[in-house]
Symmetry: C2
Amino acid sequence: MTISGGDTSRLRRINLVTTLRALRGQGPLSLTEVTRRTGLSRPTVESLTEELLGSGWLKELPPQPGHMGRPARLFSFHATGDYVLGIDIGSYSIRAAVADLDGTVVASRTERVGADAGRSVRLTAVRATAVKALASAEVGSAQLATVCVGTTGVVSHDGRVKRCVGLPEWDGLDLAGELGADFDCPVLVENDCNLAALTEGWIGEAQGVDDVAFVLSGVRTGAGLLIGGRVHRGRGGAAGEIGALPLLGWHRATSHLTGYPKMPADILPQEAAEYVFAQARTGEPAARWAVEQYAHDLAEGIAALVLALDPELVVIGGGVSRSGDVLLEPLRRHLDPLCLEPPALAVSTLSDQAVVLGAVRLALDHVDARLYDVDTMLPEPSS
Amino acid sequence: MTISGGDTSRLRRINLVTTLRALRGQGPLSLTEVTRRTGLSRPTVESLTEELLGSGWLKELPPQPGHMGRPARLFSFHATGDYVLGIDIGSYSIRAAVADLDGTVVASRTERVGADAGRSVRLTAVRATAVKALASAEVGSAQLATVCVGTTGVVSHDGRVKRCVGLPEWDGLDLAGELGADFDCPVLVENDCNLAALTEGWIGEAQGVDDVAFVLSGVRTGAGLLIGGRVHRGRGGAAGEIGALPLLGWHRATSHLTGYPKMPADILPQEAAEYVFAQARTGEPAARWAVEQYAHDLAEGIAALVLALDPELVVIGGGVSRSGDVLLEPLRRHLDPLCLEPPALAVSTLSDQAVVLGAVRLALDHVDARLYDVDTMLPEPSS
């Protein structure tokens, strides 16, 4: 409750960030202009500017000619990379997207991969997809500020896949280490549901919503959480793993769809859910029953998330979200009686782009954090 | 990603707070000293100081005599109240504690109340306990900065008890409205488990831990969450209400203890759990079985919280925490197989003080937030 002596250096950091913010996203500014915009004294701004020049966050431009008297020194913000790369490692496909620092995707690629592909085959596909996306964007690896990779499984803080049942030979993989060697910039790894949740908050159904439970319903059933608008990873990256509790129905949910008794032999596994929903849409009784059972089991895990967290919104995403018109009614019917109050429920419209766009967003957030966080930025930007 | 026009007023707010912080916890300071400590320009500090004087956050002191030249104007921080009052409304007792703004409890009172006491009897007991605690502390009502009240039940953001099965005639009570009329300062109302969680983070088992699931195991079973070190209330104040999911065992957990077949007739209901644990400690088989069943059911709800949130720590509090030596082994045995990794588990040592101290802490946080939050403070302190 009192001001400690350590606040002097903290105050200087705050002033450094204030100065950086005044310069970021602007054309070159003079010291006088920086002083005006920050409200700081001129000696303070001079000292801060020197420090920021020394640490590489600012660059000094040649003084503008044609002015009377001594020309004013001009400074501008110095970015350390102009693009980010997001990657989504799925069971049946790899997606990569290159975006600029404003978040505009300038190129993206999707490559197929076999669901039974092992570790080395899948990693090769990941690298090939990244190379193609970068080539398509005409962006060199040296122009990347951050890479972010999404994967199913529990991901540790240092980017290892600690636990994964969805992909062959993926359990225990040091994914950040494997891909980190391919890039000169930081490589982040994050759980795919967490990334999809982030995308919903960025450009999807959860814009402006602080606390969100995102439920990925597709080949697998999983969840990612936003709390205070940020991904909540938990102690070991395992937040949202409510599906691991056998008392609740997520472990068996998709089996109701894949086990649909009238499934034609030529329907691929990744198309099974959508086929059952299409049949249910026509009123076919066995398909309607399969959807009913699926909704019942999905509701149990969602109810546990709702009762634990009381989120402002639940977003249903993943492949099943394309069939929201069929799913929502039975889901509401099973879910609402399990909750104290009916939760707000939305169906994602981002479909299979949510994870790769979330990887882009997390990479951008990482760039921003390096710029803005008064506790972790400085003394110098990473090369 | 760009600096918007609205940042000018935000920058002024930041500078206002910087100025307030420089003055808070200090003796009177001159403008020159404030300028030096903040790094702001003198015209900026003069303008900010006038605004803070006008809004009541600062007071101006008489200039010190005996100096050469024009005496310097002196300013100091102006607190709006010197104490907070915390109240815990329980089934069997009402607790009240008066603390100063450093969080030191200067007086506290506990008064008994019947578990079957209705709304008006219980409210009368609350008021009487508060009056006695204030008298004991020799603190007048006008000296209170904030009052905070803890109650069982789901509490809305405006301090209504939206849902409560634990106390008679308590469901739907506008508790903030009822008690707000008794005090001139803000009256906050919060769920008791949330407050106990806050206390664990403040002075208990969860100090320095960001993400905590606190489980109240006593007359009732409930939970409160800390995320990022702050109480996570959720959309409607219902976070932690995992006990409402009948698939999990919390709704029946305490019945294993209260239904102990060898319970003597003279054991009061509020003493039942402790009696069974004491018997289990001696090895009495029926008591051991009751504890085993209790641990089994408690573990299911805890596992759901752990899998949903992946907290850094689970703290077991409430009356049962006094029997942690008997409970922990069976609880771990039932809990660990339900979780992906065994969660860190601690038993509270705060016993029945956790809720009232949490009320004190939340009141202090409210005082701090009014002082420090750049988004909500200003233009003026509440009277």
